[in-house]
């Protein structure tokens, strides 16, 4: 069985976001970049399958991103993935999520992957399009927001629990398939120093626009949303500190919630 893990390098969640000149991107100077936290779950899930079974032949990590994104691949390799695919080309720089999904699907369609794992969402664009869209482009079933994953002994299907509003669904799916990983599935282990060293020797295949036949026409027809403007979030009106002892303050809070905010 061959597993593909899709990962993205994103600004660390504590990053202070500054809008860059031009107003369509953030200022990336000095920003700490990490593996998208939801993709960490995907990496760990793949490695745990390898540890629990004898039929996992290969775990490949794939990323689309600039040269620096290779660091994210190295982390995945240090945690236990076998090899990497790094798709990068200036021609892909302005792609939206659906175009990126199309690009990934095109690059991996002949890879013979049985299971594709990806985080449920990237914490930069916060969209979560890539997993389900890759599944659609490859004509595969997918399970979104999985919190539990169990591969059948014969490796032909799996059972997963997925989180939805107020409930957990248990679904059974035949492979090949795509799974998007939610918090609760597992936590990624820290890569050890020796493993970080070993990861440097693992192969990363470079894929550029030249490797994607008909690139222009392939991507012209899908997605195509453009970032027109980026602003700081709308500021909230300044809040009130309600004075007085707890009892008094609570009475005043309830009055304000009813009369001013009309929230209760």
């Amino acid at each position: 069985m061959r597993i593909l893990v899709l990962i993205k390098q994103v600004p660390d969640s504590t990053t202070r976001i500054k809008i860059a000149a031009g107003g369509t991107d953030i200022d990336r100077t000095g920003v700490k970049l990490v593996v998208n936290p939801f993709d960490e779950f995907a990496i760990e899930q793949a490695v745990r399958l390898r540890e629990a079974r004898s039929d996992i032949e290969q775990i490949t990590a794939l990323t689309v991103g600039p040269a620096k994104a290779a660091e994210a691949l190295r982390t995945a390799l240090a945690v236990g993935c076998d090899d990497g695919i790094h798709i990068q080309d200036d021609a892909f720089a302005g792609f939206d999520e659906l175009q990126t999904a199309r690009l990934i699907a095109t690059a991996v369609k002949d890879g013979g992957y049985d299971l594709i794992l990806v985080g449920k969402q990237e914490i930069d664009l916060d969209s979560g399009h890539v997993g389900p869209a890759v599944a659609e482009f490859l004509d595969l079933p997918h399970v979104g927001t999985a919190v539990k994953f169990e591969l059948a002994a014969d490796g032909k299907s799996f059972t997963a629990n997925r989180r939805v509003e107020g409930a957990e669904e248990t679904v059974q799916v035949t492979l090949p398939a795509v799974v998007t990983c939610e918090k609760g599935l597992c936590e990624m282990r820290y890569p050890s120093l020796p493993n970080l060293m070993k990861a440097k020797k693992k192969p990363i295949k470079q894929v550029t626009a030249a490797d994607v036949p008909d690139a222009a026409s392939l991507f012209a027809s899908v997605g195509g949303t453009k970032m027109a403007d980026l602003q700081p979030p709308p500021s909230r009106p300044p809040g009130k500190v309600i004075p007085g002892e707890p009892e008094e303050a609570v009475k005043e809070l309830v009055r304000l919630l009813r009369e001013e905010a009309k929230a209760i």
Binding site: L125, V130, P132, F137, G144, T170, L230, I264
Partner: protein
């Protein structure tokens, strides 16, 4: 492509998702600009009540796609159903709620129909050429992006709950049904069971009011205080990651970057510092109350009302006050 606006009217158990009803308001506004109709599509099995609930002011047509194989959500089958509706209506814009279902389904539908897609939208309009443009929070709410869509293809948007009001008046929509023809391979996903989490207690993703607790609650037992207040307010109980990781509450109640993103009408945070990853999940709430002994807690910066006292005093007092208020009215 017509000038119509299609709504995916998400239902579960024959009940329309509140966020789906709220889609009618922006859909109507768009249709008034394009000169097209608002068409709502309800997918499921035995969905008469749900379809009737979509017959509100602003909706022109309701399309039902009913089949026993659609009784519960499946990414492949619902994709096939919604694609069929979209191919019939040929809308200019398709709106879905930014719910678990809407967010799971929309990328597949967009990929299949070669559409553009924007997620978790809080503002939408048409530009001078009639192309969709939207605003959405990105970087966990730390920035607000304006996205433009290509005019020559379907534009799809999932809209954040509680962004728009639902229409209150009844409608006069014509209802038609569309037969469901499963696609090849749609049966590769089988739903084996659905278990309601937390029993009868509301889920944070569904509630209009949330009472959330942090590490300061100290243990699982103390969360009972919040459940009492939540009961009086008909609210859901949420928690910070620190509280979930410590085992005080299940992860399904976690609010934040790696928990759920919520936009309730009222969010009451008790003993939560307001780390950036927590704010990511709740800063879109309409009204925020902060109960924290520390005046410097970052949550105060997004709160409308702050009480700087011990939550173990404030929460019981608040519960009693709300109860007294209910008794009066």
């Amino acid at each position: 492509m017509t000038d119509d606006i299609l709504i995916f009217a998400e239902q579960r158990d024959n009940r329309i998702h509140p966020a789906a009803l709220q889609l009618v308001t922006p859909a109507r506004a768009l249709a008034d600009k394009t000169g097209g109709q608002v068409v709502a599509c309800v997918v499921g099995d035995q969905i008469d009540t749900a379809a009737a609930a979509m017959n509100v002011a602003g909706v022109n047509r309701i399309i039902t796609i009913s089949n026993t194989s659609l009784a519960v959500y499946s990414a492949t089958r619902y994709r096939t159903a919604l694609v069929a509706a979209a191919e019939k209506v040929q809308p200019r814009v398709l709106l879905l709620p930014a719910s678990f279902m809407g967010r799971d389904l929309s990328p597949r539908v967009a990929a299949r129909l070669s559409a553009g897609l924007g997620t978790d939208v809080v503002e939408l309009d048409l530009d001078g050429d009639g192309a969709l443009e939207i605003h959405r929070p990105i970087y966990n709410g730390k920035a607000s992006a304006k996205l433009t869509f290509a005019r020559d293809r379907l534009a799809i948007a999932t809209v954040r709950a509680n962004t728009f009001p639902a229409p209150t008046d009844g409608g006069a929509a014509a209802t038609e049904s569309l037969a469901f023809t499963p696609g090849a391979g749609d049966d590769r996903i089988t739903v084996k069971g659905i278990e309601r989490a937390g029993g009868e207690v509301k889920d944070v993703a569904e509630a209009d009011i949330i009472v959330a607790g942090g590490r300061a609650l100290k243990n699982e037992q103390n969360f009972a205080l919040l459940y009492k207040l939540a009961k009086e307010l008909d609210a859901a109980v949420g928690a910070s990651r620190a509280a979930c990781d410590a085992g005080y509450q299940p992860h399904s109640r976690q609010v934040g970057l790696t928990g759920k993103t919520v936009t309730p009408k009222l969010y009451i945070a008790a003993g939560i510092s307001g780390a950036i990853q927590h704010l990511a999940g709740m800063r879109g709430s309409k009204v925020i109350v902060n109960i924290n002994t520390d005046p410097e807690a970052p949550l105060a910066q997004v709160a409308d009302y702050t009480i700087q006292h011990d939550l173990f005093k404030v929460i019981p007092a608040l519960t009693a006050e709300v109860r007294a208020l209910k008794a009066q009215s």
